[in-house]
Each structure stands twice: as structure tokens, then as C-alpha cells.
């Protein structure tokens, strides 16, 4: 029972992390119409950023403060170099180009950090955890990560629902041509949205770094799972991504307890079920 409870907590916390990555993906596709396979690489970038920055600053949260703006700038550069050339192209070419980006990022990672796994320390003041029973404790750091993700999610919803930029983003998601017709520079909007997506994925990578070891290819499972979340939630829907991420996180964690042999299939089966019932995802427009 305790194990199930811990897994449930882990599931929610994992779901919150996936949400950070998936929200960027859903915005980039929903608004810019670009399928970005290299999204997982930005998660990896975040994790390795955490590794290097923590060696200097000594604290994961200081690394976060430094790393997120860096990731944003990196996103702007990547958009300017590659992604903007994809706006008028079909899905096939987007898939191809962003797949090629994965090859480049993976190789760059190997050159810069090597192929051994590394670990990133949990800050001293968050060592230890809450006692759940005699034998089990739940680490403070996981709770802090969950709280941080919730705060960020609330912040994002506020920005999207209540601010001017949020209104433009929502408009862009439902009708791209119209936004341009209204005199909003879509190039700037796209660059901002893409960089924000990169920053979100990197944020997830940074805060996740102390939870597991940092290793090459760390972003790939996140990429696939984020796509599943986007499909379940409905393309372009932040709300859907949030719900989908929690759903997937919990399903994955509980699947590991109850169907250990098929734990990863549970997630995909869930997606298939959602799509049969609602081909456009939970909060999506009809596909």
C-alpha cells in the first residue's frame, strides 16, 4: 500500500515534469504548425546545463536562474538558424530536419560532456524527506520540484489567459492567418513561442537532473512521452497538456507496480483509448 502511495506521488510529480516539456511542444505545434522532434534534446540540454552550472554555483536553483535565460537565447538562435525555414514546409520535411537536429545535438553532447552518466547533487537544505511510515520517506526535493512545477503551470495559465501576449498566443493557436491580418508580426511571435518552448523543456531538464542521473539520450523518452501527452490533451491546449501529463505520469507509475512487464505499453494503450473515443484529444479541435 505504501509502495502504491509513493508511486502515486511519484507519478504526479513525474507528470508535472512532463507537463513542462509537453506544454512547449503543444504550443510550438499548435501555434507554429511545426512538428519538433528535437524538443527532447532541449530537455537533455537542460539536464547537462544543470550538471555544469551546479559545478560552478553549487546550487541547482541558482543553475535554474542562469540556465533558463540561456536556454531561451539558445531557442532564439535555433529558431533563427533552422526552424523558421520550416514554416511553409510540410510535416515530412519538418520531421526530417528536426530529426537531423537530434543527431547534431546528441553528437555535440558527446563531444562536450562525454558518454558517461553523471549525477547532480540535491542541495543540502533539501536533503532528507517526509516520513510516511516506519520504513518509507518521501524526499523533500521531489516535493519542492512538484511545488515548483505547479507554480510554473499556474503562472503559465495566468499569462495565457490574462495577459496581452497570452491573448495573441491564444489567437494564433486558433487562427494563424487572422493574427497576421490583424497586424501582429508572426515572425516575432513564432520566435518567442519557440524560445519559450525550449526554455520550458530545459527547465524540466534542469530540475529533473538531481532526481536521476544525467546521461546521453536522456531527452528521448521525454520526447516520446511528450508527444503522447500532446495527442491525449489535444494539440495546442495547455489545459489538455496538463491533464494529459498527470494522467500519463500516474498511469506510468502505477503501471510499474501492477503490470511491471508492460509498464510502458500502459501509456500507449491509454493514448489509443483516448483517440478512439475522441480523435482530436481531450481538449482538441476535431482532427
Amino acid at each position: 500500500m505504501d509502495l502504491a502511495l509513493i508511486q502515486l506521488l511519484n507519478g504526479v510529480q513525474y507528470g508535472l515534469l512532463i507537463f513542462l516539456a509537453a506544454s512547449g511542444l503543444t504550443l510550438v505545434f499548435g501555434i507554429m504548425g511545426v512538428i519538433n522532434l528535437s524538443h527532447g534534446s532541449f530537455y537533455m540540454l537542460g539536464a547537462y546545463c544543470a550538471l555544469t552550472l551546479t559545478q560552478f554555483t553549487g546550487d541547482i536553483f541558482l543553475s535554474l536562474l542562469l540556465g533558463v535565460p540561456l536556454a531561451f537565447v539558445f531557442g532564439v538562435i535555433i529558431e533563427w538558424l533552422f526552424i523558421r525555414r520550416l514554416y511553409d514546409r510540410d510535416h515530412l520535411q519538418q520531421v526530417l530536419l528536426t530529426f537531423a537536429l537530434i543527431l547534431i545535438f546528441n553528437e555535440a553532447q558527446k563531444l562536450l560532456w562525454g558518454s558517461h552518466p553523471h549525477s547532480v547533487p540535491v542541495p543540502g537544505y533539501l536533503q532528507g524527506g517526509f516520513k510516511i511510515s516506519e520504513l518509507l520517506t518521501y524526499p523533500y526535493y521531489r516535493v519542492a520540484v512538484a511545488a515548483f512545477c505547479v507554480a510554473l503551470a499556474l503562472g503559465m495559465m495566468f499569462v495565457i489567459q490574462k495577459t496581452r501576449i497570452g491573448r495573441v498566443i491564444r489567437a494564433g493557436e486558433s487562427n494563424r492567418e487572422m493574427v497576421e491580418a490583424l497586424g501582429i508580426d508572426s515572425r516575432l511571435l513564432f520566435r518567442f513561442v519557440f524560445a519559450a518552448g525550449v526554455a520550458l523543456a530545459a527547465t524540466a531538464g534542469i530540475v529533473a537532473a538531481p532526481l536521476e542521473s544525467v546521461y546521453p539520450g536522456i531527452g528521448e523518452p521525454i520526447l516520446i512521452i511528450s508527444f503522447v501527452v500532446v495527442v491525449i490533451g489535444g494539440i495546442g491546449s495547455i489545459k489538455g497538456a496538463f491533464l494529459g501529463a498527470i494522467l500519463i505520469g500516474v498511469a506510468d507509475a502505477l503501471g510499474k507496480v501492477y503490470f511491471p512487464a508492460f509498464s510502458s505499453s500502459v501509456v500507449y494503450a491509454l493514448m489509443a483509448a483516448v483517440l478512439i473515443a475522441r480523435p482530436g484529444g481531450l481538449f482538441g479541435r476535431a482532427a
Binding site: 505545434f29 512538428i35 522532434l37 533552422f82 525555414r85 514546409r89 510535416h91 515530412l92 520535411q93 520531421v95 526530417l96 530536419l97 530529426f99 537531423a100 537536429l101 537530434i102 543527431l103 547534431i104 546528441n106 553528437e107 555535440a108 558527446k110 563531444l111 516520446i224 508527444f227 503522447v228 500532446v230 495527442v231 494539440i235 512487464a261 508492460f262 509498464s263 510502458s264 505499453s265 500507449y268 494503450a269 493514448m271 489509443a272 483517440l275 478512439i276 480523435p279 482530436g280 484529444g281 482532427a287
Partner: protein, 612 residues
């Protein structure tokens, strides 16, 4: 429609084939193995091109079937004896096809981005099935100790462990697969697949069950990938979960795009190019030789070492450069040199037999029809009758629910309440292609014909829908009356024989509209539902199409939405006025013109003018 390869393409393919045939005589074992791998990759990627380039479904999980084929050889091979290839190959094909039928029945429900992601997820599901469990060695993969042998009784015909024999077998299999797919794509069945690629809504409106067609092409492609997978497992005698994974699927997409999607031969060139580039980038000696063309030996060696060390980064840049510079791939490059395809000469048509028998048109009755979107009632309790052999206009201000109304009639939307009867038969709520089969053909506001097809091919596609055998793989089964139907339809819609063999993309807007009507007639529709057939037309074209509609009403019932008031008052026998989802009036144009209610609610100043 996908043409047979141009002469220049044939020359290139023949040269490659000649090179491949000669390879075992001068290439070493390494070259032979690499070439075998390329042949097998070629079979795999042309099967993917059937989905991506022909039917227009970008599958990101095609490696699932490739991997399943590979694993099937492991499953069927005894521990220390050879499997019979006569059993192993069909087994691998069947396994892939059965799984594809199950997966496809779900995946094909989705489109575009969702289809990409769903196929990706199913591929990953297959991957984790082998990766997370102990089946066939789990993460470590498994070995097939003895290669399969083609044998009948004790007679050995071909042993896969003979490298040269195996290479020739794979080469023959590739050529055969290519010819087979080329043939398939050019059959009536393949024509429908291409139609779906360019315009699925149109195909559905013509009465094709597009779901079944897409599923069929998905299963065929999977079976072929499974075949390639069996062969692949026989190269090294080793299978691993990675074969089913998304990287393998991604690589296959890459080869298709690199070579040129939708050409069938292009992906094979893509597979060759990709493998050659990869091998070159991995080899520091070859790279150094390349760099020494530009720099001194020491620098060249240093550069070569660096690039070979990070070859996959170099490969990444190569791919990006290719996709940006040549979006149509190698095939696009070759076709550019080959120049424009020669146009087929228009066939002579025998003059029409003169008398036109009055075909039985259909009656449509709508009773108390209601359609709501959540709280918004777009069509609210409309009852109206459309008698046969007349032109019926539907008018109303913007947002009156006209398009929703005909969407319900054609089956694109399900009615919330009420009934729709075609010739006293209830059709409300049925699927669009079922309704189309019953004789109700519709057009859309945006003209949608299959642009890469000629006008005649468009009609051929439409005529194919009315003859019941759904999947047809031979042109020979084309009926005599099908040809007649097409010529009649083209003539009825006013498309002259010299325009009939021009690609629809090169026809004028007005002609495209006429072509839509011709397609509906050819599909056997007896009731035409037209959504703004006159929109965007100049006065001369408007006149021509209006006259055409009058003429067509001799053997069709026509229901149309139109905003051009002058045209519709002149052309229609009855007018139906919808306002805010409700039926405001129904009657002859004179009755409508003199109705005070209509004038007040809708016609406004226009009505005043018309009165004067």
C-alpha cells in the same frame, strides 16, 4: 496520377541495376554486405512510400513491421537448424499484416499530426514489448544460429548463408517489389489511394469508403516491410529491439524524403545515398582523401579524423542541407533534368448516340430537421421537399445555417433530430460515402478536384465509385459502360475533349467547378448538392454554369446554395429561404420575390430594387 518512370529515370535505374548485378564480381565481402543491406532497406522504404507518397499518410512507426518481420525469423528458426524460407517469408509477411490490421484499424481513424504520433506510439509499444520483457532475449537481442534455406523436400534451392546468392535474391526481391508497387499504384485501387492523398473529403463524397482504402494500403505496406524485415534478420542472424524503434522509423522517413516521396523509385535512391554518405562519413581515410582535394595532407588527415569521429553530426548537417536545398529529393533533381512529361494525346470520342433518355432523378424530403452544436442551434426544425428534375436554390443571410443544412443532408454532420429521406429511404445520420453511393453527390465551397490528375482521370475515379467492387487491382476489369459514363459526364458538364486530358491544376476556376459537376455525374449521382457553385466567377462563366445547371436538371435533381441572387432567381425552380436556422419561406422565385416576410428579413434594399 503517378506516371511510369521517364526515360532518363529508367536509364539511371538500369545503370544502378547493372552495377548491382556486376558487384559480386569485383566487390569484396564488405561491399557485398553493404549492398545487401541497401537492397533490403530499399524494399522497406518503398513500402513506406506507398503510405507517405501515395496515400499521404506519414507513418512514424513503420519500423514496427520491419522489426516484427525480423523477429518472426527468430521465432520460426529452430535452434540449430535452418528454417525453410518458403515458410519463414510468408510467416513474417503474415505476422506484419495481422498486426498492421489491428493497429491500422485504430490509427487510420486519425489524420495528419495525430496519425504521425499514433503510429509513433504504436511503434514504441512494439519496441517496449521486446525491450522490457524477456521475449527473445529482451534488451540484448537474440541470435539466429542458422540462416534460412529455400528448400523443397530435401532439395536445397537457395541458401541464405551463401552471400552472393543471398545478394542476388535481395536484388531480385527489390526489383520485384518496385514493379509490383508501381503496378498497384496505377490500378484503379491505387488511383483511389492517390485521390485520397490529394483530397480525402472529395473521395468520400464520391462514395469511396476512404477508411477501408487507407487501412488496405496500411496493411499492404506493412506486409512488404515485414518481408524486408525477414531478409534483414538473415544478414547478420541477429535481431534487437532497436529494429522496431522510432529511430529506425525516422531513418526510413529520412530515406524516403531524401530520395523523393511519391515516386517509388526515389526512396531507393534515398536509401543508396544515405548509406553511402553514412559509410563515407564514418571512414576517416575516405574523408582525408576528400579533404586533401582542398588542403595539404596533414590538415586533410586531421579534418578527416575530426569528422569521422563525430560522423552523425556531419550526417545531421548533410540532411539539413539536403532538405532545405532539394525538398523533392534526388528524384526531384532527376525529374528536373528529364523535363516536362509529354501530355497524353486526347482520345477520340465517338459522337453521342443523339437521343438522351431521361434518367430518373431523385426526390429529397427533409422533415423537422434540427442540428445543434452544444447550445447553438444551427438548423432548427426545417421541413422541406425537393421534387425531382428541378433546380432548388437555398438562400439566406450569412450564418443562416445553409452550409450546416447541406452538411447534414450529405452526411458530413449527423442530425440532432428529424429525418432526411432520399426516394423515401431514410439517410439521416449515415456516413458520407454510404449516402453518396445511394445517389446523392455533393460539392464543396472550395473547389476540390484532384489537382495532379487530368480531368478525365478525375472522372474515371468518380465512375469507379459507382461500380460496386470496392478494391480493384486491374484496369482490365474496367467496364465498357464506365468509359461511356465518363465521356457522357464530361460532355454533360461542358468540358470539351481537348481540355479533358489537361491536369486539373491547369484548368481555370470555372472549368474546375464544371469538373466537380462532371465527377458527380460520373459517380452516378442523381441528386447534386452544390455549395456555391458560382462563387468567384465572372459574368460569362456564371452564365455558362447556370445554363449547364438548367440542362442537367433534365435528368438530375439539383439543390444548391448560392449568394449570387440574380443568377439563382433566374436558374431555380424553387427557392428555400433560411434565416437563423429556421425555414422562413419556400416557393417559386416569384412567390419568394413577392413575399413581404422575406423582403423584410433578408432581401432588404435588394428586394426594393428588384421590385422597381
Amino acid at each position: 496520377m503517378l506516371a511510369l518512370p521517364r526515360p532518363l529515370v529508367l536509364v539511371v535505374l538500369a545503370a544502378l541495376l547493372g552495377f548491382a548485378i556486376a558487384l559480386p564480381f569485383f566487390g569484396g565481402p564488405f561491399a557485398l554486405k553493404l549492398a545487401t543491406r541497401i537492397m533490403i532497406a530499399g524494399i522497406f522504404v518503398i513500402s513506406l512510400d506507398l503510405l507517405i507518397g501515395v496515400t499521404g499518410m506519414v507513418s512514424f512507426g513503420h519500423a514496427l513491421y520491419f522489426g516484427l518481420g525480423a523477429y518472426s525469423l527468430y521465432f520460426i528458426s529452430p535452434d540449430s537448424a535452418a528454417a525453410n524460407a518458403f515458410v519463414a517469408l510468408p510467416f513474417g509477411i503474415a505476422l506484419a499484416a495481422v498486426v498492421a490490421l489491428a493497429v491500422g484499424s485504430v490509427a487510420v481513424l486519425t489524420k495528419g499530426f495525430y496519425f504521425i504520433m499514433v503510429t509513433l506510439a504504436f511503434g514504441q509499444m512494439g519496441f517496449s514489448l521486446f525491450f522490457d520483457t524477456k521475449i527473445a532475449g529482451g534488451t540484448d537481442g537474440a541470435y539466429i544460429n542458422v540462416r534460412p534455406i529455400f528448400s523443397i523436400g530435401s532439395q536445397q534451392l537457395l541458401n541464405f548463408s551463401n552471400r552472393t546468392a543471398f545478394f542476388y535474391f535481395c536484388l531480385a526481391a527489390l526489383v520485384l517489389s518496385y514493379v509490383l508497387l508501381l503496378w498497384l499504384v496505377r490500378t484503379p485501387f491505387g488511383r483511389v489511394l492517390q485521390g485520397i492523398h490529394h483530397n480525402e473529403a472529395r473521395m468520400s463524397a464520391l462514395g469511396f469508403n476512404t477508411y477501408a482504402y487507407k487501412l488496405a494500403s496500411y496493411v499492404i505496406a506493412a506486409a512488404m516491410a515485414g518481408f524486408a524485415g525477414v531478409l534483414f534478420a538473415a544478414i547478420d542472424g541477429y535481431v534487437a529491439p532497436e529494429l522496431l524503434g522510432w529511430r529506425e522509423s525516422g531513418l526510413a522517413i529520412m530515406m524516403v524524403v531524401l530520395g523523393g516521396a511519391g515516386t517509388l523509385y526515389g526512396p531507393v535512391l534515398g536509401a543508396i545515398l544515405y548509406s553511402m554518405v553514412e559509410e563515407t562519413l564514418k571512414s576517416s581515410t575516405e574523408l582525408s582523401a576528400f579533404f586533401s582535394l582542398f588542403a595539404n595532407t596533414a590538415t586533410a588527415k586531421w579534418l578527416g579524423g575530426i569528422v569521422a569521429n563525430s560522423w552523425s553530426m556531419a550526417l545531421g548537417f548533410f540532411l539539413i542541407a539536403t532538405v532545405l536545398a532539394a525538398p523533392k529529393g534526388v528524384a526531384g533533381f532527376i525529374e528536373k533534368f528529364a523535363g516536362e512529361a509529354k501530355r497524353a494525346r486526347p482520345k477520340e470520342i465517338a459522337p453521342s448516340s443523339g437521343e438522351r433518355k431521361r434518367a430518373s432523378a431523385m426526390r429529397l424530403e427533409v422533415e423537422n430537421l434540427k442540428r445543434a452544436f452544444g447550445g447553438l442551434v444551427a438548423v432548427n426544425g426545417v421541413s422541406v421537399q425537393f421534387p425531382p428534375n428541378q433546380v432548388h436554390g437555398i438562400i439566406g443571410p450569412n450564418g443562416a445555417g445553409k452550409t450546416t443544412f447541406i452538411n447534414v443532408l450529405s452526411g458530413a454532420l449527423k442530425p440532432t433530430e428529424g429525418s432526411v429521406r432520399l426516394e423515401n429511404q431514410e439517410i439521416g445520420g449515415q456516413r458520407p460515402h454510404t449516402i453518396a453511393r445511394k445517389g446523392l453527390g455533393r460539392s464543396y465551397q472550395r473547389t476540390n478536384v484532384i489537382l495532379p490528375f487530368t480531368a478525365r482521370e478525375n472522372c474515371l475515379l468518380a465512375a469507379q465509385a459507382q461500380f460496386p467492387s470496392p478494391f480493384r487491382f486491374s484496369n482490365q476489369w474496367r467496364r465498357k459502360d464506365e468509359d461511356e459514363t465518363i465521356e457522357k459526364a464530361l460532355r454533360a458538364a461542358g468540358i470539351t475533349p481537348e481540355r479533358a486530358d489537361i491536369k486539373a491544376a491547369n484548368l481555370s476556376l470555372g472549368e474546375q467547378r464544371q469538373l466537380v459537376i462532371a465527377m458527380l455525374i460520373a459517380s452516378g449521382a442523381k441528386l447534386l448538392l452544390l455549395d456555391e457553385p458560382l462563387a468567384g466567377m465572372g459574368p460569362e462563366e456564371t452564365g455558362r454554369v447556370t445554363a449547364l445547371l438548367r440542362e442537367l436538371s433534365a435528368d438530375h435533381t439539383i439543390v444548391l446554395i448560392e449568394h449570387d441572387m440574380d443568377a439563382i432567381f433566374a436558374a431555380a425552380d424553387t427557392l428555400t429561404v433560411l434565416v437563423e436556422g429556421k425555414l422562413l419561406a419556400h416557393g417559386t422565385p416569384e412567390e419568394i420575390r413577392s413575399s413581404a416576410a422575406v423582403r423584410e428579413a433578408y432581401l432588404g434594399e435588394w428586394g426594393q430594387e428588384a421590385k422597381q
